[in-house]
């Protein structure tokens, strides 16, 4: 029985074989799939035949990708979608609703916050923001209408590291599912199911895509929540048991919303998955080296990276991630003007909004990802005007440090 992460990512499940013997599953770039009889189509629509009908609903190249993710994550069901934001939207639409609430970290990715606050709130979904530094606050915020607790493994760009085990125990005590956006760590660095997380979401655009090749997202059901406790899914769960969430997505929300992963993107992301562990190791080592360099630099006001002893989250991160702390850090200069001048002076590091690319990228979050919020709101979210975010790639770290050094000389 093969157990290694990379072996599983490369080979997939034993039954995964292309009908023509292709070692790499081809891009099945077809919208519809023909069947030999009306009965075959009927059985496919009933889910009683392993076959495809229409690519908004399922596609062989996408299924190949999903099966590999299921194998490496250990989940009971995996669904690939068109983006990380589509993963979050699909889940909230499946388990939330008018009159329900989500207990969410007040520090989170700007677009997730916007989705909850601006897109879904008008439909009657309430959001209760809490500090994940105080798990008791989470317990107090949960009430009879709470659909889920939503957190990120490492918040972006605040670099908070919630104690997932502790929070999952609180959520479980209230019979509420814990949803985790694990994009920054992936199942390679953090197996969410082992820490009591019920649903894991990923933007596969990041580490998985193999170097920002394509946009995609993943939903993983770890199979450890009793969906009879979910107001939206309890009826399904009577019959469908542990498969209730995946069935609700497949047979309703995902099918109806239509945010499917394109077959070509699934192909690229399967390719990326095969080399992901190698790239993550290099990215983490580079980030640790750059964090150390920046922390010692006299022009830096502060560096925020869980891999540094100075991080208030170092102990939790060490316990959860086993010595690797991801590929994103932030640091502060004296003024916003200095941040802009420094960014413009860089020659090798690219000015772009993405993370976990093979290339190292820099961005000023306050004026970009969080631009839609007021200065007061941004400060409340831990997004300072003096902060820059660095997503560290897999280049030679000496070249990256030399570029940063040049940047510090210019302003």
């Amino acid at each position: 029985m093969v157990k290694g992460f990379s072996t599983m990512a490369i080979h997939g499940p034993a039954s995964l074989r292309d009908s023509k013997g292709a070692l790499r599953t081809p891009v099945y770039d077809s919208v519809a799939f023909e069947h030999e009889s009306a009965d075959s189509l009927r059985r496919t629509f009933e889910g009683k035949k392993l076959a495809h009908a229409y690519s908004r609903i399922s596609n062989p190249t996408v299924t190949d990708f999903e099966q590999r993710v299921q194998l490496i994550s250990g989940g009971v069901g995996v669904l690939a979608v068109s983006s990380g934001m589509a993963a979050i939207s699909n889940i909230i639409l499946t388990i939330g609703g008018a009159g329900a609430n989500i207990v969410a970290s007040k520090h989170m990715f700007g677009n997730t916050l916007s989705l909850l606050e601006r897109t879904l709130k008008p439909w009657g979904l309430e959001v209760k923001y809490v500090s994940t530094d105080d798990p008791l606050e989470i317990g107090e915020a949960i009430d009879e209408n709470t659909s889920a607790v939503f957190i990120e493994t490492i918040t972006n760009p605040q670099m908070d590291v919630p104690d997932c085990r502790q929070i999952s125990e609180i959520a479980a005590a209230h019979q509420v599912p814990l949803i985790l956006d694990n994009t920054l760590m992936t199942p390679y660095l953090f197996n969410s199911g082992d820490h009591g997380v019920n649903i894991e979401l990923l933007s596969s655009t990041k580490y998985i895509s193999g170097g920002a090749t394509s946009v995609g997202g993943v939903i993983i059901d770890n199979g450890n929540f009793d969906w009879r406790n979910s107001p939206r899914l309890k009826e399904r769960a009577q019959k469908q048991g542990s498969m209730a969430l995946i069935a609700a997505l497949r047979q309703e929300v995902y099918r109806n919303v239509g945010a499917c992963l394109a077959p070509h993107n699934a192909y690229l992301q399967t390719l990326g998955l095969e080399t992901m562990s190698l790239r993550i190791e290099k990215s983490c080592a580079n980030t640790q080296a750059l964090a150390g360099y920046l922390e010692a630099h006299p022009r830096i006001k502060g560096v925020n990276y869980p891999g540094l002893m100075s991080s208030p989250y170092h102990e939790i991160a060490d316990r959860q991630f086993g010595g690797r702390y991801g590929g994103v850090l932030t640091f502060d200069l004296e003024t916003e003007q200095q941040c802009f001048a420094f960014t413009d002076a860089l020659q090798l590091i690219r000015r772009a909004t993405n993370i976990n690319d093979n290339k190292t990228l820099v961005i000023h979050p306050s004026s970009t990802i969080f631009a839609e919020y007021t200065d007061e709101e941004k400060l409340e979210m831990g997004v300072r005007p003096t902060m820059l975010r660095l997503s560290v790639g897999i280049e030679d770290h000496e070249d990256l440090i030399a570029d940063l050094e040049e940047g510090f000389r210019k302003p």
Binding site: E46, K48, H52, A53, G77, S242, M243, R250, Q251
Partner: protein, 72 residues
Amino acid sequence: MQVSINGEQRQIDSEVLTIATLLELEKVESPEMVSVQVNGDIVDRKHYQQTKIGAGDEVDFLYFMGGGSTPW
């Protein structure tokens, strides 16, 4: 014994029949992807080895990828 599998009556010659053995006997395609429903209820995968199938049971092998709604 007589068992209904995906709506078809089948004669299964086995003294003790579990879901795990039925998956093998029926050579179910991609067993890691299939969900098994017995008499209308999906059985948790971790119980496939222990869950016994008896005469007259209705068993359905389901794949959550086809896109239609199964008549639950």
